[in-house]
């Protein structure tokens, strides 16, 4: 087992309660997590673990990498704490990073993963999950038995490719002798991982799959069925985790007034704004939770 990790150092030190951020499945809408991070940084709230599922893995990794090892940390930490605190810089960073991963259109040929793999490698190279500055957990689904798989070590590219293996879109991905599917199939919003890893306050950003207005084709029918299943799974898993956790699970569910399609990277600035809006709505409550004195794990004999 790893030794204890240092919590992220935010611009101003947060109270020592372990705050976990969970970013659920939601394709390009997961960019709203950057809006959440903007708000947390602004509030001086340090994040001590990040968990991602499906497309949420991309953002969880970028957030975790923002506090990475020492030689990269100086620049990146300045970027994430000071400059990132203003909306404009977040947008630029997103524009630089994300189009490399998302910048393809429907002609891309959804069944081939060559391009997305190339882009993931370009974005993340050989970096490993265990080397991130903040403990990072990326979830996928075991194709053999449907169980949730949690990657806390190994190559980032492998874990992300496994977690975004949407059935019928991308093939299942093999890591270490097992095949994996999109993380959403085990749990679209893996709050359980945060609970298991000892988080106190859990900030969970989740997204409901959109329902189709007009089911006029086989593909739309399949999407509708998939949305129904995954939304029901999202709700039932969330309800269980909320009851099973000893502290608060704060759901942050951005609402998008515009329809966001799978590859709508042009809408990323708007998505980030909605993420900020949804996060800000919960800040007073989060602040109250964190300011209230409470037992901490630091006191528990480390």
């Amino acid at each position: 087992m790893d030794g204890p990790r240092e919590p992220a150092s935010a611009a101003s030190a947060a109270p020592d309660r372990r705050v976990a951020v969970v970013i659920g499945s939601g394709s390009v809408k997961c960019a709203a997590a950057l809006g959440l991070m903007n708000v947390l940084e602004r509030e001086g709230i340090g994040v001590s673990m990040v968990i991602g599922c499906s497309a949420g893995c991309l953002f969880a990794t970028m957030i975790a990498a923002g506090h990475s090892t020492e030689d990269a940390a100086a620049l990146t930490r300045r970027l994430w704490t000071r400059e990132i605190a203003s909306q404009g810089n977040t947008r630029s960073l997103a524009r630089v990073l994300l189009p490399k991963v998302f910048g393809f259109d429907s002609r891309f040929g959804l069944r081939s993963d060559t391009l997305i793999l190339a882009r993931l490698r370009e974005a993340f190279g050989e970096s490993h999950i265990e080397d991130m500055g903040i403990p990072l957990y990326l979830t996928a689904t075991d194709f053999g038995d449907g169980s949730q798989a949690v990657f806390s070590s190994g190559r980032v590219v492998d874990a992300i490719r496994a977690s975004i293996a949407v059935p019928f879109l991308f093939s299942p991905w093999r890591v270490g002798g097992r095949l994996y599917l999109d993380g959403y199939m085990a749990d679209p919003l893996p709050v359980g991982v945060a609970i298991k890893e000892g988080a106190e306050v859990i900030v969970a950003m989740g997204f409901e799959s959109p329902y189709q207005d007009n089911v006029t084709s086989g593909a739309r029918f399949a999407f509708q069925v998939s949305s129904i299943l995954s939304n029901n799974l999202l709700k039932s898993q969330f309800a269980f985790h909320a009851l099973a956790h000893h502290a608060e699970v704060i759901p942050i569910i951005p609402e998008f007034r515009q329809r966001i399609h799978l590859f709508d990277t042009g809408k990323i600035p708007y998505i980030i704004e909605e993420g900020e809006r949804a996060a800000e709505a919960q800040m007073p409550y989060l602040r109250r939770l964190l300011d209230a004195g409470s037992p901490t794990r630091a006191a528990a004999g480390s």
Binding site: G3, A244, H246, A247, A300, G301
Partner: protein, 114 residues
């Protein structure tokens, strides 16, 4: 069901043998609560001898998990037998609790001198 408690150093091992059902679960919960009340919040349950549990046992476990965690500790499970594991897994507990193959690993996981 019989329960024995080994207070140890920083980690307390609670050995639960036999079966936990709707009647004996209260006794289990009382024993676990007593540990937490005494400030022993790093708990390991030795389940090598536990052959059966129903949802009543799960309720005792979940209650203790939450109490210990709220005080900065945890309840971790060691040597869970296959049939009991199946029940834990069905209930979703394996996703929110830490399980270990044996007691020493579970004790060591707390990262403190046992």
């Amino acid at each position: 069901m019989d329960i024995s408690v080994n207070p140890g150093g920083s980690v307390t091992v609670v050995t639960i043998n036999g079966s936990v059902d709707g009647l004996t679960a209260d006794q289990l919960l009382a024993t676990l609560d007593a540990q937490v009340d005494a400030g022993r919040t790093h708990l390991v349950a030795d389940l090598s001898g536990l052959e059966y549990t129903s949802s009543a046992g799960l309720r005792a476990v979940l209650g203790t998990v939450k109490r210990t965690r709220s005080k900065g500790g945890d309840l971790r499970l060691a040597a869970v037998q296959p049939q009991v594991f199946k029940v834990l897994d069905l209930a979703g507990f394996t996703g929110i609790m830490k399980l270990y193959d044996d007691v020493p690993s579970a004790v060591a996981s707390f990262g403190v001198q046992a």
